[in-house]
């Protein structure tokens, strides 16, 4: 056909974006009652895996299925690929059963990134709800590595209960030690919890950042993000200072399957991280 250039390598197919590469499970770590972290390394033991904070991979479990999971590890470590997810579906439940040495199919990394570079020299507000802390953890690693490059950094974290809090040793404690203001709240307290109770948005009015020049990165359930953005805007932040990570059903991650459409965008290609002014007009529309 005239519309497509003929190629000379007839019969040899090019790189197929739907085919995974094999990774071996290095470690499966329980985070809380329904959340676990999966550490993977390339089966050939050599391939370096590079990604930027905010990106995700498609992980395939033999015969069970393939799902998108954000990368929750340190982007300066290329030997290990880390994902944190809740075991709430068929694939993630099967994933939690995997043992060290088991293989898993991986495609990626895909998607847009958090504005870690743009944020240099400015204040940063990170607002996470529940498992929403996982896609933001690479940002926090990055800031911890280069703490002097950023102004005031605030981490506002809301969990369901004190037992649900993620990454206490890896992030929450080191963050405090590195002059990151960590303010936490839980929906429901248990005996021994001396911290705050309530929604994460209640932490925003008194957080220490300069709303005129700060960048905000927000990840959590859509309703949490909506109220967080409202609270940030009440502090004086504009839509183009706020970044959110969106989620939709996804089968391919390369723009073929159509499932992840959100208005005119494909979450897989145009997201998952969006500057809020790009999707503000879609945000309140029901069942979009």
């Amino acid at each position: 056909m005239s519309t497509i250039e003929m190629t000379s390598d007839m019969g040899v197919i090019g790189a197929d974006p739907m085919l995974p590469s094999w990774y071996a499970v290095e470690r499966v770590r329980r985070e809380n009652h329904d959340t676990f972290t999966l550490e993977l390394c390339a089966c050939d033991g050599e391939t370096a895996f590079g990604f930027q904070p905010g990106q995700f991979n498609m992980l395939y479990v033999h015969g069970v299925g393939e799902i998108p999971i954000s990368i929750s590890g340190d982007s300066e470590r290329q030997d290990i690929v880390t994902h944190t997810t809740r075991a709430v579906g068929t694939v993630t439940r099967a994933m939690w059963q995997l043992k060290r040495g088991d293989t898993i199919g991986l495609r990626g990394p895909f998607g847009t990134v958090w504005p870690v570079e743009e944020a240099r020299g400015r204040d940063v507000v990170i607002v996470a709800g529940g498992i929403g802390l996982a896609p933001l953890r690479p940002v926090l690693y990055s800031i911890l590595h280069h703490r002097e490059s950023y102004g005031n950094v605030v981490l506002l974290y809301g969990a369901r209960t004190p037992d649900d809090r993620l990454f206490v040793d890896e992030i929450l404690t080191p963050a405090v030690e590195s002059r990151i203001q960590v303010d936490e709240t839980v929906d429901r307290a248990v005996t021994g919890w001396g911290g705050k109770i309530g929604v994460v948005t209640s932490l925003i009015p008194r957080a220490g950042f300069d709303a005129d020049e700060a960048l905000a990165m927000v990840c959590g359930p859509e309703v949490m993000m909506r109220f967080t953005i409202e609270a940030l805007q009440r502090r004086g932040m504009d839509a183009d200072q706020i970044y959110v990570s969106m989620e939709r059903n996804m089968k391919c991650a390369v723009g073929f399957c159509g499932h992840c459409q959100y208005g005119p965008t494909f979450i897989c290609k145009d997201g998952p991280v969006f500057r809020f002014d790009k999707i503000e007009h879609l945000f309140g529309i029901r069942e979009l």
């Binding site: 056909m1 005239s2 519309t3 497509i4 003929m6 190629t7 007839m10 019969g11 040899v12 197919i13 090019g14 790189a15 197929d16 974006p17 739907m18 085919l19 995974p20 094999w22 089966c43 395939y60 033999h62 015969g63 069970v64 299925g65 393939e66 809740r86 709430v88 579906g89 293989t103 199919g105 989620e247 939709r248 059903n249 089968k251 391919c252 390369v254 723009g255 073929f256 399957c257 159509g258 499932h259 459409q261 208005g263 005119p264 494909f266 290609k269 529309i285 029901r286 069942e287 979009l288």
Partner: protein
């Protein structure tokens, strides 16, 4: 560009010449895919000669209605489009992505070999060529390439046919895709029948097309042929009764996410997904994983999917679009509006399939008009 202005080489073959062309294509290694009748409708499948084709048949189409009738002549292409579209040849309804054998260590993965079969598509209409160009943007022109699609596409030989008699559901005229084929063909034909004549005026679109035609007995076209061809096309153009206004449709639909019309249409829509299955541009797919009894052999298949299911938008906790109103809104708004943001073109070619094959006869041209009308209610004089 109107058909009379096209500056292509034009020749004429007779009725036997068509079968001769098919023989030439087969001898060149092409698998012939063309229209044939199955389950009382014209579908696309393998053919070996015009004997397999719906010769002398005409389709009558209305919202929710499709019937085949005898024409009373021997026209080979005297119908328009049925429930199949050519997308099934490039983007098959069911396709294996890969298979994996577990054997203790690193699993053995095998992807299907590249599909190198050459296919000649016989009787591709203008709207269908436009649809193929639209799917190219999805599968070939993006940052990622569907290699199987690309390979099949490269191996096509396209024999287009200009439509002589549009169905009542056709609105390609207003979509700028027909009734005459514009581009993207190797050969394009106008069928001339009546007054003891049965011939095909053939335009050549590519050098490959010219080579194939050279092997078929033909004569050069005359001024009479060209006038006849222009008249047939003009008659077809004027015979089209349906239209859709598109200049304002992007802004119209994207400012009407909350229109009450979505609820209204959802009371009629059965969310059966027929419209998405027959649509020549709809490209959504899902995947299915299967294993053998041992669990060691796993396969992953890609299948056509539809935004008219609640599974389509499932996330932990439920479906994002559980209601029919939001599913219909997603389909129509994507097809006509956000498709333009994504691919720079509108996702509809005006073939009318979704109108004919909707069991309750929902007509997208009517839905768009109703939403437009809802913004400017007709003045009432009391």
């Amino acid at each position: 560009m109107s058909i009379s202005e096209s500056n292509t080489n034009m020749n004429v073959i007779d009725r036997d010449g068509l079968d001769r062309l098919f023989e030439v294509l087969v001898s060149e290694g092409y698998l012939l895919i063309g229209p044939r009748v199955r389950d009382a409708s014209v579908v696309y499948d393998e053919i070996s000669s015009t004997r397999d084709m719906p010769v002398g048949l005409k389709d009558e189409q209305e919202p929710g209605r499709y019937r085949l009738h005898e024409r009373g002549d021997g026209a080979v292409f005297g119908y328009v489009v049925g429930p199949h579209s050519w997308k099934r040849e490039l983007f098959p309804p069911v396709q294996k992505l890969y298979q994996v054998q577990r054997n203790g260590g690193k699993p053995d993965m095998e992807a299907p070999a590249a599909d190198v079969q050459k296919r000649a598509l016989i009787g591709v209409r203008g709207c269908e060529l436009a649809a193929m160009a639209i799917q190219d943007k999805v599968f070939v022109d993006g940052p990622f390439v569907d290699e199987q699609y690309k390979r099949r596409r490269e191996n096509l030989f396209i024999v287009a046919v200009h439509c002589n008699e549009p169905a009542a559901t056709c609105f390609c005229g207003s979509m700028g895709t027909g009734p005459a084929a514009r581009s993207g063909f190797d050969l394009a034909m106008t069928e001339v029948i009546g007054g003891g004549i049965h011939e095909f005026i053939v335009e050549t679109g590519t050098e490959l097309g010219a080579t194939m035609l050279d092997a078929v007995p033909h004569r050069e076209s005359t001024e009479d042929d060209r006038v006849r061809r222009a008249m047939i096309n003009e008659t077809a153009r004027q015979g089209m009764t349906r239209a859709m206004r598109t200049d304002d449709v992007h802004r119209l639909l994207t400012r009407n996410y909350e229109s009450p019309r979505w609820e209204e249409v959802s009371e009629r829509c059965l969310s059966c997904a027929n419209c998405t299955m027959v649509c020549p541009t709809c490209f959504c797919s899902t995947v299915e994983d299967v294993t053998d009894l041992s669990g060691d052999h796993a396969e992953r298949w890609r299948k056509w999917d539809s935004c008219f299911t609640s599974d389509f938008s499932y996330l932990v906790g439920g479906s994002v679009r559980p209601s029919i109103s939001s599913q219909y809104r997603q389909w129509l708004t994507h097809k006509l509006a956000t498709w333009q943001d994504q691919f720079g073109v509108i996702g509809c070619v005006g073939c009318g399939r979704c109108i004919s094959w909707c069991p309750v006869g929902i007509d997208l041209t009517e839905e768009v008009a109703a939403i437009r009308e809802s913004e400017h209610p007709a003045k009432r004089y009391v």
